[in-house]
Symmetry: C2
Subunit: 206 residues, 2 copies
DNA sequence: TAATATTTTAACCATTTGGTTAAATCGATT
DNA sequence: AATCGATTTAACCAAATGGTTAAAATATTA
């Protein structure tokens, strides 16, 4: 017991790693089998085809994304602090899941139908966005923060949190940053984004 | 004359399209040959291998990126307006070159050595960053704009301009935006980013 | 322990894929 | 028109790849 799933789990773990790094087309069943210490036939015993194995990995990857973003905030702290928490959560997630996001961004277009089907059946809806939207609208009505489009606010926050990680190799190539410089950049990024957003949200003092 | 390069150009155009959409691993020489209306052997007549053809496409792709970003601004308009122009240029570029950027982001890691070698020999250095950095520092000294880290400012501007295009399919899946809603988002995005940045840069009135 | 179901293996197979070769065709120059 | 180099083609090839099969090994259960 418990041991039964060992091989299957091992295969899935290895497959995830390989698919994340090489994508569907770059992944080789043989390499997955080798790294999982099983025969290629064992792969097909647990997963009928490369496509099926891939889809399991893709779906897990998506679930992972949604779990992390769901219900980020539900306390009754001030809106500005809440946004700070959102920024922290996004940065936390991307730091340890860069490959996960890259993988999804790369593979989503070729698998839209599959994803849509399984998003529905697994009822992975994002209430998070709706909730924070509503709250932002409320606070704007109250005059706590400036009136800006919440869609833009949230998507641009996500952009600033995620893109530098996705584009790290390109950024390093273009800027010729040293390892220390890029490290310093990422260390400072959280505070920069927070201030950036505060400036956009805070009412000017009258 | 001029006709001589026709076939080679046709191959390159088609190869670019295929490599952009499917990456190195997903691209098939046969498909490139078919779309270019030539035999597969003709491909190898002009490009010795898939790798070589790929590298030509990759290098062109990189040059394209650098040409677009080089010398964005050199007039003597106020710094804030200059930043606006930069935002416009980035958005213009990404609108028509989404696949180009995605391709580079995906393939850069596996081809770092090649890119570095050819960046040097082709002396594709980006003076743009240095110049605008210097100017930002100057204006901060003068007190025209707030003192913030130019690295962060520029990279975050780029993030906001580029990421939504890269992540459009994912955003649509998560937000369940309709076609009109997403269109509206992209239409408004330019002004949003500009205001966002202005707020971050403008000195509070005393 | 014998019987049964689960898991793993080695040896194959068909197809795809990048690449080659030698001959044929086309184009310009003389 | 004859010549010579550039271009294109058809027919192949070896290696890689996803997948299959039947038998062996390992657990599980009666």
């Amino acid at each position: 017991m418990g041991e039964k799933l060992k091989t299957k789990d091992k295969i899935l773990t290895v497959a995830t790693e390989i698919f994340y790094n090489k994508g569907f087309n770059g992944a080789r069943m043989q390499e997955i089998a080798n790294l999982a210490n099983v025969n290629k036939a064992a792969l097909h015993y647990y997963f009928s085809s490369k496509q099926e194995l891939f889809e399991v990995v893709l779906l897990n990857s998506f679930k992972n994304l949604f779990i992390s973003f769901d219900k980020v905030v539900n306390s009754n702290m001030p809106i500005i602090e809440k946004i700070d928490v959102i920024i922290e959560k996004y940065l936390d997630f991307i730091k340890t899941n860069t490959q996960n996001i890259k993988f999804i961004l790369n593979e989503i277009e070729n698998n839209l139908a599959f994803i849509q089907k399984n998003m529905e059946t697994n009822s992975m809806k994002v209430k998070f966005f709706d909730e924070i939207f509503e709250e932002l609208h409320l606070e704007m009505e109250k005059g706590t923060i400036k009136k800006i489009n919440p869609n833009h606010l949230l998507i641009n926050i996500i952009s600033m949190c995620i893109f530098p990680f996705i584009a790290k190799p390109l950024i390093m190539e273009i800027t010729q940053f040293s390892q220390e410089e890029i490290q310093h950049f990422f260390d400072e990024q959280e505070n920069f984004i927070k201030k950036f957003v505060h400036n956009a949200l805070q009412q000017k003092r009258e």
